[in-house]
């Protein structure tokens, strides 16, 4: 670390503007500081390219939060898995599967949300547990195990839904359609509260971020995740239940996929077996831009939250400026690389 040229005596000891400046610089070099800087840079772009003032209205920010919430929820679970030096490629497919199942049980079978929501969360967690068991039990690389789950879950979603979206239009035997009411839970989850200023899914995202944050910072299992990611052998030798912890990480990822799937179905007012396609890439980009290392052992929920906001604002700025599809993809790719390069640890 660079030390300033002026001797300590000239600044009058620890208190003083130079010391304050030094601690600010130290914060900015920390992972959270760098994530904050990336976010600040993206927001600056938004102010410059504000699309006739659209960026300055609260509605734009509220909509940005709503749009990024589903991927953000996926990123919460993804963070836990990445900290263990693993990866979960199946998040998009499990989201689609749960979206379909949730729509099926509430719209077609008339289940109450009190039964439907826990059932769907359980299915998501079970899917994650299977991935985790394959990784932990058969020592198969997370990339491969979750790739297989990604393909399988997508197929299962298409099987359960019969290849069609599950909406309030119920197909009858003679080819016509009958219409049912949309269950209240869909309207509740897709609603806006606080005088229409915040979307419910954004609050759900914040709850997920908080829950994961508490797990990582305060609970023993959170520390185990870091230990496994840092050095799995050392963790195993020091008595940490490595297999159990891994299964927990992937199960939680599956659980958050289920939450995201319910939010997606509610917002679309239907269960789409194709929902969540390529969302896994967005979730990974969010985690990585936040500063959590893919090598594991480092990172946290604050970083992921900053990553969520960074990606969210980036997509929103490109959208309100009606940037063409080709440019959008190239810019996003370049910025992801740029942000990660900027974030890398200078050790």
């Amino acid at each position: 670390m660079n030390t300033p040229a002026a001797p300590a005596a000239a600044t009058g000891g620890r208190r003083g503007p130079l010391a304050a400046a030094r601690s600010v610089l130290r914060f900015l070099r920390s992972p959270s500081g760098r994530a904050l800087l990336s976010l600040a840079l993206v927001m600056l772009l938004g102010f410059i390219f504000n699309a006739d003032g659209a960026f300055l209205s609260w509605d734009t920010h509220r909509d940005m939060l709503r749009q990024v919430s589903v991927c953000g929820i996926l990123a919460c679970g993804m963070t836990l898995v990445i900290i263990t030096a693993g990866i979960d490629l199946s998040v998009g497919s499990v989201l689609g599967l749960v979206a379909v199942l949730f729509s099926l049980v509430t719209i077609r079978w008339g289940w109450s949300p009190v039964l439907a929501v826990p059932a769907c969360l359980l299915i998501g967690a079970a899917g994650g547990a299977v991935s985790g068991a394959i990784v932990a039990g058969f020592a198969i690389q997370p990339f491969i195990a979750t790739l297989a789950m990604m393909v399988f879950a997508r197929g299962l979603a298409k099987f359960v839904s019969g290849g069609q979206k599950i909406s309030t239009a119920v197909p009858q035997a003679d080819g016509t359609y009958q219409y049912v009411e949309i269950p209240e839970i869909f309207n509740q989850v897709s609603a806006k509260v606080l005088h229409d200023n915040v979307a419910v899914v954004t609050l759900i995202l914040l709850a997920c971020v908080l829950a994961c944050g508490v797990l990582l910072a305060r609970l023993r299992w959170g520390r185990y995740l870091y230990a496994i990611g840092g050095n799995e052998e050392a963790a195993r030798l020091s008595g940490i239940p490595v297999a159990g912890t891994k299964i927990l990480a992937y199960s939680l990822s599956g659980l958050f996929c289920a939450v995201a799937g319910i939010c997606q179905a509610a917002q679309e007012l239907q269960g789409d077996p194709e929902a969540g396609s390529t969302y896994e890439l967005s979730a990974i980009a969010i985690v990585v831009i936040g500063g959590t290392s893919l090598r594991g052992g480092r990172g946290g929920m604050l970083l992921t939250l900053l990553g969520v906001l960074t990606i969210g604002y980036l997509e929103k700025i490109l959208s309100i400026n009606a940037v063409g599809e080709a440019s959008r993809l190239m810019l996003t790719g370049a910025i992801i690389v740029g942000a990660v390069w900027f974030q890398r640890s200078r050790k």
């Binding site: 659209a54 219409y179 959208s319």
Partner: protein, 314 residues
């Protein structure tokens, strides 16, 4: 461990055997003709509807049996499906190709082997096929443009939400629309590629709403896009001052939206499934089929949905 490996091998062989054995359903009376249907993907509801239309029409004729293959949007996989149909000796092939160029040689090979080929919805290159059945996206786009111009009295602010612009339907529905509004004072103030997807359409519409205070109508290249735009407008409390026009008019989607008043109009993009089986029966019965069958479209509005829509002029 030896036993573990032996177990794995037995399991794999059993799974393979089961997988091969399952699909066989014994037919009571062998149908006279077998038709191979190659679909480029079943991810789009419109294509699921196409297969459903084919199935419904085929069930009325017990002398034909249709074998369906789904290429999952992979051109090379679709080529191998066509080759499999040829090798299996089907009597006729119906294909909805993903793209023209990769599928042209395979279709031509089947055609040269005297297997009639009906091409649905998307074209192949050249002339080596028996019959092409499809609707005209340019015509539909132009009709939509003309309808919108008439609806808004010739002036207004429009948002265009486009389907995947690397696909011909997207390009045609856009170019047709541009031609349809030519000469009027309609202005497209915001356009975006929503890739046929409802959540994307909603996101883009939100951006348009944030940016423009006065939007009169949204023209979306498909009904899910129009619906997504409607949801965005509803969330912003502006759905009453904006009108929405979509394309596809599937009975459980666009036609419902039109009936509910969400869409001012939905333009039908017929799947051609029914017509493909009718034409197939003609061909198999020895009759001559025309080289091109252009399907006509209907426009559905709240008033005419129950009457079955209104046919667009030729």
């Amino acid at each position: 461990m030896k036993t573990r490996r032996a177990l794995l091998w037995t399991g794999a062989c059993a799974a393979l055997g089961l997988g091969l054995a399952l699909p066989t359903g014994a037919a009571e009376t062998a149908p006279r003709w077998t038709i191979g249907m190659s679909q480029c993907n079943l991810g789009e509801p419109w294509r699921v509807q196409m297969n459903a239309d084919i199935k419904r029409e085929a069930e009325k004729h017990p002398e034909i049996k249709v074998v369906y293959k789904d290429a999952q949007n992979d051109s090379l996989r679709q080529v191998s499906h066509v080759e499999e149909f040829v090798r299996a000796g089907v009597n006729l092939i119906i294909i909805s190709p993903k793209e023209a160029a990769p599928l042209t040689p395979a279709v031509a090979a089947a055609y040269k082997k005297s297997i009639p080929v009906i091409v649905l919805d998307r074209r192949v290159l050249g002339q080596e096929y028996t019959c092409f059945i499809g609707a005209d996206n340019k015509k539909i786009g132009k009709a939509a443009g003309a309808y919108i111009a008439k609806l808004l009295g010739g002036k207004g602010n429009l948002v265009e939400l486009k389907g995947l612009m690397t696909s011909t339907p997207g390009q045609d529905r856009h170019s047709g629309f541009v031609e349809g509004i030519k000469g009027s004072e309609l202005k497209v103030i915001f356009e975006a590629d929503m890739k046929w997807l409802e959540p994307n359409a909603r996101t883009e519409m939100e951006s348009a709403l944030a940016r423009f205070k006065q939007i009169d109508l949204v023209y979306a290249h498909n009904d899910p896009g129009a619906h997504g735009a409607y949801l965005a407008a509803k969330a912003a409390g502006r759905e009453k001052e904006i009108r929405f026009v979509g394309i596809d008019a599937l009975p459980h989607e666009g036609q419902v939206y039109a009936k509910q008043g969400l869409l001012a109009a939905s333009f039908e993009y017929p799947t051609g499934g029914k017509e493909s089986i009718e034409t197939a029966l003609d061909i198999l019965g020895g009759k001559q089929a025309p080289k091109e069958i252009t399907l006509r479209s209907r426009v559905f509005t709240a008033e005419n949905v129950d009457k079955g829509g209104e046919w667009l002029p030729e």
